[in-house]
Amino acid sequence: MASEAVCSHRDPMLKKRDDFEDILEERRNSSDLRYALKCYTPVLYKQLTPCTASDLKNMVLCSTQVHFVIAQVSKETGAAPEEVQAEASSILEEMAHRLQLGPIRFFAFVLCKVFKTLFRSVCVNEEGIQRLQQSIHEHPVVLLPSHRSYMDFLLMSYILYTYDLALPVIAAGMDFMGMKILGEMLRMSGAFFIRRSFGGDKLYWAVFSEYVRTMLKTGFAPVEFFLEGTRSRTSKSLTPKLGLLNIVMEPFLKGEVFDVALVPVSISYERILEESLYARELLGVPKPKESTSGLFKARKVLSENYGSIHVYFGQPVSVRSLAEGRVQRGQFNLIPRHIPRRPSEDVQGFVNDSAYQLLRAQEENMVLKPWVLLSSLLLQNHHQNQNQNQRRGGGMMMEELSEGAVWLRELCRQYGAFLHWPDHVPPAEVVSSSLDLHRGLVTISDGRVHLNLGHGAQKGAGLTAEEELLSQAVIILSCASYRNQALHVFVRPALLATALQAAGSAHKQDVFNTFNFLRNMFANEFILCPGAAVQDFEEACFLLMKTGVVLMEQEEVLVTENGHRTITFLTSILDPFLQGYQVVCRFLCEASTESLTEAQFVPAVRTFIVRLLLSGRLRYSEVLSSDLQKNALAALQRLGAVHKLKREAEPATLKVNTVMVNSLEDTLGGKLPTVKPVASRL
């Protein structure tokens, strides 16, 4: 039931997705100043207890929750309660926002100007806005936008201001506070700042969680935070962080509010501002520290065209209906609710599952632009013809690319992707205008479309082979990040396609076992709801059957004659990840003799991969992505093939179970699984 609530938009055939409205259009035709000074009277929560930002602070500091922890801390540390109280107060001071309308109006004015230069359009689904307005009136609301860019939260507030909706308070990382003036400006526009890690600090946790809960319970403002915790550098959704979700669900679970509405918001950029910045970061060039002056240096981005942004406000998800039949709320009856307790196992499981469902809802409503399809095709083409490319310039013919894009467009639609492809324009035009927008990544010469890899070679007298490789990798990773936007559409069918090839048998149970193995292996890489292997398998089978790629005959899964093109496409999508994980496995086996610390892992595996790439034994330079490497390591740790050894005062080292890692590598390499995964019910 709960999952239906979240995934109600899965099949676009069932319900037409909402229409978008470009909010920049009006801005281009009327005064920005008048807009910034417009009368702003949002609909508020019906049970709102009106209070100011400083009332909020008082409520938090006077709450039984915080008092309890203050007493506890003072007892444990021997510090006077007044001291601890003062500390709590300073934590809150550091954290709290100072939401005011003035700075919002200022931002509205500035952002109008900025958005109009940067973007062609900012499209918002109006029905989503109406649903949101309704929700804000009825229940405390939590906004859960996807996080791909710094723009995200400014954009969110801007949109809400535009539509006369209650402005959110936003959980932001402490790193923003480094930007002096801007940090304060953000604070005044509703950002509150939290430390990135405060593991053991009880007091911090108490103040922070109570602050968020108070804002939610009183209906002060919608609370906004990013489920993914940080910006995704790869455009893939990141594994959800559960801390804040736990906090915002608690008031409902403990009966302090009737319900909480969670609103997944999908923000898709046609071209991401931080595009090459991310690629460099993934390749190991450290990210520039956030600073106001840095922001000004970055203003050259203002001169470029970043296409359009689509913002989809999803169906609000009621925590109450999610929890129905899942969580025994009575479990909070016997202990005073202000005493902090670790969430019980069923609550943890519930929050985790909910987080995945919400992320999937977010993914499903991401609008895909034609370029996403083009970059997928260009990357696959590049890898397939890598060697020839080097000889004769390579690339794809325009017609070939158009034809491929049209084919892929149909496939995407069949799989339920939310594709924004202007149907009234001839495909060739769509393709060329897309390519035009991304001319930093591709060039067109003699009717052939190339990835921009050649430049290095031409002027690259001064570059070493490794430097050249890295500069090419920047382009590849940038392209890959666009391809990744479509991964959630293909990942289940792709896992099945790969399983069909690897299983070595068409028997359904064997295919499922391999599918399950791969799914398990990649659980850190893609958003795959825990415990949903059977559903995922069935969904993949359904999609492949629907598109005529496979046939189900009795207990066999057979690939049809016409299905090979799709199968090839799907397996190629997954192939870089498959090989990447194998390479990490191989590296760990070879490096297992030395004691490898966690911090050394990424640089060491990178060197290893560079060597493989240079010697031509590995095709995919996107394996250089530290994101993939870390995910692979996390997966191996989860599977118990690698252990982290913690010793006093020394960095943690990695202990590799060579036999297991070896066998995982073999299995990934297409050899039959030696240990059959436990046969699940099908």
Partner: protein, 636 residues
């Protein structure tokens, strides 16, 4: 009879004066039945002559209940609400203060709140169709022996149908439609403890199922006959065991037969200058035995205590024999208190026949009061503070905004322009001058009792606390009307049912820190469930805090909706009530504060008292009543 019913000015002796005063105390609005009004007393007392009778006449409940009371609705046959030809609401009869009065605001409130219309009527079947009542399954041997011991009994359809139900909505709804399910096969009227012993012995001998019947005011399906019961079902009506056997002024106790109903008990004690102070909302009709077997609670428990605090001694006839304590010590450390097996046993173990209760002198002075709060949150905070300082008046109740409005709709026609001008002025002061939002404000009603000086002092203390929470004293009238609402609400439900509106109330007890949460969430849940279940009109979902304790409060919920357009309104209502109970439990409320479990709430017993707890209760049942003679199947 002591004082007359005609308004009671300047009657008789000092004694009568006190008694009469006491009557006005009982429920503010109640008038006793007129002399000779209920003369139907067929039986003569067969109790030993040596026994003292404090008083013996003027009992309210005859053997043939249906001659005085409605067979398919609440209360006396002559008292009901109706909309007259002019479309104004009035209350018929002569029994109550409200009787014969016009309530001009009720129609608008009724139509506005429920979207109901006086054009759309859903009248009840006027007469009981006796042929719809199943023929009785009689155990002939049992009947023969019963005749031989001379206990009156009946198997007439009217008698049996009357005792086959309580006052749950689904029970009354079915009766109004003329539907009669399984009902008792016969009714017996024991006259004293010994009669009960004989009946129980016969029932055991002939394997007959007994269902004790007191006032018939159950709201937990406790009186429904289990449809799976194949034995002959005998309803044991205790109404004729209604004497006060003795009063002990040294120890301030009274020994009373358990069939006596609340108003009779209070009236008779008042004649001797005493009272029990136990005043549940149903006290006009509910019986002492019923209170004991459901763990009843009275509105003035702050002074007098709940039923478990009031009883000193209980005598109960079980299939294994009579259970009672050997002395009347005020407290005993003799293992688990056996009274607590009886209190709340809901007729599953035996029949309570006689009870010794604490009594108190009738208080010299009583005063109503009310306080208006800007919102419900402030009101609850005030009640919590009052409970903390342990200075709760005899009764303190907090109505939410919906009920406040409801109460206003029940204001009788004002007699003078001056009164209505004053009302207008008061309203202006509160909403305009003090800035209370009329759609949020709520009111607490108060009742003080004691000697005059202390009452005034106490009153000041409570009003001072209220002032700290933004409360404004709002006069005695509002207070008194609040308590009146309690007594007429059940009559009002019958009015609603004439116009497609069904209603029910339910209660819970909850720790202080969760009072607001339970109120908010349960009210919202009712609204949401009604919507989800296809109710076309927005429901009335309202609550009030009716009792305060050191560690928590009792909360009462009312909900009502217009069921036009629903094919199975009772089913919808049951689903909503079920969901509401789930919500209560999920938010830390109890299964019941004083209504009991019956069959309506059985499904939650295990989660409420734990597996072992249910086992304990079951083993008591197995020992006391191995043949399940008391087979109403309540509780477990």
């Amino acid at each position: 009879m002591a004082s007359s019913s005609s308004g009671g000015s300047g009657s008789g002796s000092e004694m009568q004066r006190t008694a009469q005063h006491r009557i006005s105390v009982i429920a503010g609005h109640l008038r006793r039945p007129a002399e000779g009004d209920v003369a139907v007393r067929a039986e003569e007392c067969k109790a030993p002559q040596s026994r003292l009778e404090a008083s013996g006449d003027g009992r309210t409940v005859p053997m043939k209940r249906h001659e005085v009371m409605k067979w398919n609705g609440w209360g006396y046959s002559d008292s009901r609400f109706l909309f007259n030809k002019k479309g104004q609401a009035e209350f018929t009869g002569k029994r109550y203060k409200l009787s014969g009065m016009i309530l001009p605001a009720l129609k608008d409130w009724f139509e506005g709140t429920f979207g109901a219309s006086l054009q759309h009527k859903s009248p009840a079947t006027p007469l009981l169709n006796t042929s719809a009542v199943q023929a009785p399954t009689l155990n002939q041997d049992f009947v023969e022996e019963l005749k031989s011991i001379g206990v009156p009994f009946s198997h007439e359809a009217e008698d049996r149908a009357f005792r086959g139900h309580g006052h749950c909505l689904h029970e009354i709804f079915a009766l109004r439609e003329g539907k009669i399910g399984r009902v008792p096969d016969m009714v017996v009227w024991p006259n004293c403890h010994n009669d009960v012993e004989k009946i129980v012995a016969l029932a055991c001998k002939h394997n007959v199922c007994l269902i004790p019947y007191g006032g018939g005011t159950s709201v937990s399906s406790a009186l429904e006959c289990p449809p799976e019961e194949t034995r002959s079902i005998v309803s044991l009506d205790t109404s004729q065991m209604n004497r006060i056997l003795w009063i002990d002024e040294k120890n301030l106790t009274a020994h009373v037969e358990a069939g006596i109903i609340g108003q009779d008990l209070e009236r008779l004690l008042n004649e001797s200058g005493y009272c029990t102070g136990h005043e549940p909302d149903s006290m006009e009709f509910s019986s002492l035995g019923g209170w004991v077997s459901t763990r009843a609670s009275g509105m003035k428990k702050n002074i007098y205590g709940n039923i478990e605090d009031l009883v000193v001694h209980i005598k109960m006839v079980t299939p294994q024999g009579v259970i009672e304590k050997s002395c009347q010590g005020p407290r005993m450390s003799t293992g688990p208190d056996i009274h607590h097996f009886i209190l709340g046993s809901e007729g599953t173990l035996g029949v309570v026949t006689e009870v010794t209760m604490k009594i108190r002198p009738v208080p010299e002075y009583q005063k109503y009061g009310s306080v208006v709060f800007p919102n419900f949150e402030q009101g609850v905070a005030c009640l919590r503070e009052v409970a903390k300082q342990r200075c709760a008046p005899a009764s303190i109740r907090l109505m939410d905004n919906e009920q406040f409005m409801f109460g206003h709709a029940l204001k009788p026609q004002v007699s003078s322009i001056f009164t209505s001008f004053l009302d207008g002025l008061k309203k202006f002061y509160i909403t305009k001058f003090k800035g209370f939002d009329p759609s949020r404000l709520c009111v607490a009603t108060l009742l003080f009792e004691g000697n005059r000086e202390k009452v005034l002092q106490h009153e000041k203390q409570v009003y001072d606390i209220a002032a700290k929470f933004g409360g404004l004293a709002a006069g005695e009238d509002n207070g008194q009307r609040g308590y009146m609402l309690t007594f007429v609400i059940a009559y009002l439900r019958d009015l609603g049912m004439d116009y497609y509106v069904i209603a029910e109330s339910f209660e819970t007890s909850v720790p202080w820190d969760r009072v607001l949460d339970v109120c908010r969430n349960v009210k919202a849940r009712v609204v949401r469930e009604c919507k989800d279940k296809g109710v076309q009109f927005s429901p009335l979902s309202s609550c009030r805090v009716t009792q305060t304790y050191d560690a928590g409060a009792c909360v009462y919920f009312y909900f009502a909706f217009n069921y036009r357009g629903l094919s199975d309104p009772v089913h919808v209502y049951e689903q909503v009530e079920h969901a509401a109970r789930e919500e209560i439990l999920a938010n830390g409320g109890s299964l019941s504060h004083h209504h009991g479990v019956g069959k309506l709430r059985k499904e939650w017993m295990r989660e409420t008292v734990s597996e072992v707890g249910v086992g304990m209760l079951q083993s008591v049942k197995d020992y006391v009543d191995p043949k399940n003679i008391f087979g109403n199947r309540n509780l477990l």
